[in-house]
């Protein structure tokens, strides 16, 4: 049986921590939704509602400053758990110059790559090989020991060539990549049956020669158990791990979408339940949290969110007149010859192929 223990963190602490991240994310995302509906956020707002258990578990089990976490579209909870500040979120959504993206990119397209959080591009599947590359580089530098790199992806993104190339490459290189597929049954409006033909995406793992786990993504305890075990195995050198979490997206694709296409019977079935409610019940029942604590956290997080929003709102937006309108870090023209070393480099030896 997998255990939650990862170093010094006990089962109880882990779950409380993951639960807090779920709650914080839910409150933050509710706020983002209202801001969007009030016209205060331009572009789109994409929520992880219903997917917090999976995402928070992952973010909690990863070690900030050591691991890589490449969140995707529905990972507010995982970001929070991994240590991303609420301000990074609100500043990015609200276009503050102080945010990590400085108004140049928005919403969930944020990250701090130098701190182990790549900033996703929109093109689904593209982050898999990037995380593999980060791990590959660490191995080359002798710094990989004990690290893992995790990324999340949806059922829809599993149909991309980038997903396939990335996971296959990670398998060939036997990298400690943890790939969490959140199968929320829809890609935008497209149901699973128009996306893949296997019974469960976890059946893909074997074809890549990697280990695979299926988990009920609405069940925090199950997620904690399975995801920590997968991460443990990746850390221990078992190579890439694929986790397929089944659940339902409890929002529209974005806040512009009312998800009319999700049939009632799917909403009503087991996977349509809200992981927040399940987790609350589970942790209260197991006496890991009390309702009083939850209330207090609710207040505390609402307050934190409020402050993060207020601060980002009052911060200066980027100024096009002071913007550095170059996409390069190199400043051309280069001063004469400084791009080349002072001495003329000559080939080391006889050319091999002459």
């Amino acid at each position: 049986m997998p255990s939650f223990a990862d170093g010094a963190v006990t089962h109880r602490d882990f779950l409380r921590s993951a639960f807090q991240s779920m709650l914080r994310a839910r409150i933050l995302e509710n706020k983002l939704s209202s801001l969007y509906k009030a016209g205060k956020i331009v572009g789109g707002v994409y929520l992880g509602r219903g997917q917090e258990a999976v995402s928070a578990t992952l973010g909690t089990a990863l070690i900030q400053g050591q691991d890589v976490f490449a969140p995707l579209i529905r990972d507010q909870a995982g970001r929070t758990a991994f240590g991303e500040s609420l301000l990074d979120c609100t500043r990015t959504y609200l276009g503050s110059l102080q945010g990590p993206m400085r108004g140049r990119d928005g919403n969930i397209h944020r990250g701090r790559p130098a701190e182990g959080i790549p900033a996703m591009i929109s093109h689904l599947g593209s982050q898999v090989s990037v995380v593999a590359g980060m791990l590959f580089a660490r191995r080359l530098q002798g710094k990989l020991d004990g690290c893992v790199g995790a990324t999340c992806i949806g059922d829809g993104a599993s149909s991309t060539g980038a997903f396939h190339e990335g996971i296959n490459l990670a398998a060939v290189e036997k990298l400690p990549l943890v790939l969490v597929i959140g199968n929320n049954q829809f890609a935008y409006s497209t149901p699973n049956r128009r996306q893949f033909a296997c019974a469960d995406l976890v059946e893909r793992a074997r074809g890549y020669g990697i280990e695979g786990f299926a988990v009920d993504g609405t069940d925090l305890l199950a997620c904690a158990s399975v995801i920590t075990e997968a991460i443990r195995r990746a850390r221990a050198g078992h190579g890439p791990q694929m986790i397929v979490a089944r659940l339902l997206r409890l929002s529209g694709h974005g806040e512009h979408d009312d998800a009319f296409y999700v049939p009632q019977n799917i909403r009503n079935d087991h996977y349509g339940r809200d992981c927040m409610e399940v987790a609350t019940r589970q942790l209260v029942e197991h006496q890991m949290v009390t309702s009083e604590e939850i209330h207090a956290w609710n207040d505390q997080f609402a307050d934190e969110v409020q402050r993060a929003v207020a601060q980002a709102q009052q911060e200066a937006p980027p100024d096009p007149y002071h913007e550095d309108w170059t996409a390069l870090s190199t400043r051309f023209p280069l001063p004469l010859r400084t791009s080349s070393p002072s001495t003329v480099r000559q080939p080391a030896a006889q050319p091999v192929c002459s």
């Binding site: 331009v42 572009g43 108004g103 990119d105 928005g106 149909s159 497209t190 996306q195 096009p320 913007e323």
Partner: protein, 321 residues
Amino acid sequence: MSVTYIDAIREAQETLLRDDPRVFLYGQDIATFGGAFKATKGLAELFPGRVFDSPISEDAMIGLAVGAAIEGLRPIVEMQFADFSSIAFNQIVNQAATHFYRTGIPIPITVRLPSGGTVGSGPFHSQSMEGIYAQYPGLVVLTPATVSDAYHMLIDAVALDDPVIFCEHKFLYRWLKAKSINGDLLPIGQARIIRPGKHATVVAYSAMVHEAVRAADHLQHDGWEIEVVDLRSVKPLDINTVLASVARTGRLLAVGEAFPWGGVTAEVVSRVTEEGFHLLDAPPQRLNARDTPVPYHPKLWAAHRPTPESICQALRKLLAF
């Protein structure tokens, strides 16, 4: 009663499905959902078995369309955003575009690219890729700027035997309205003088046509009469209409929303200087977006792309030469 640009695109697809059994639609979320921009709203119900939700597999979506075209069908593929066609790049430029030259069998597919910037869309939902695709032999690249052109040119695109990259501007989707779709037809490959003038020629296409017209209207107050040419099709490029206009005005400004290196405006300027150097009374100029990814923040975005103000500014400089 008015018709928007997106209505026109939807209508064209309805017409095509109704009139031509060879046509089918393939793309992400285009069936039940009616497409991210609702360009196919209701069509799956109207035409059962002709409108398909695809997996998130842009490469395979174009591959499928090419195969269907080989078999004599006329698929219309919707990319959810032009930017995602980068995933289908190989199938478009190497499979579809080379097929007729190599085998003698044409590939009549139409790839719809919701293109261009809108507020808050950022680096990956705002791109204008016409200048990329136009570089490849074997593709026709269309950029309608008006409601009627959106309709008629999409109909014509499907009628062409060659692969067509159909660049629709997302900003125009709901902003641009017309009383009705008019019968002012021009063949594909012919540009339109959308606003006559005599002091300078602005060559533009897609959303920039409207920005150019605004700039021209503005300069009218100062007595300047600016001619605006809407290219309509960037490949083939109707250089004759452009040259005729430059012959009248002696001055050329080419305006595009794409990145500034190369692309449509460079092709226009080069063609004009090669073939109509003697017509020019002043150095021809280009105005494009800035050389960075398309920024998210509305303030940055507004300064990233050409606007009526920056077009006016460029025109004043040109007129003062």
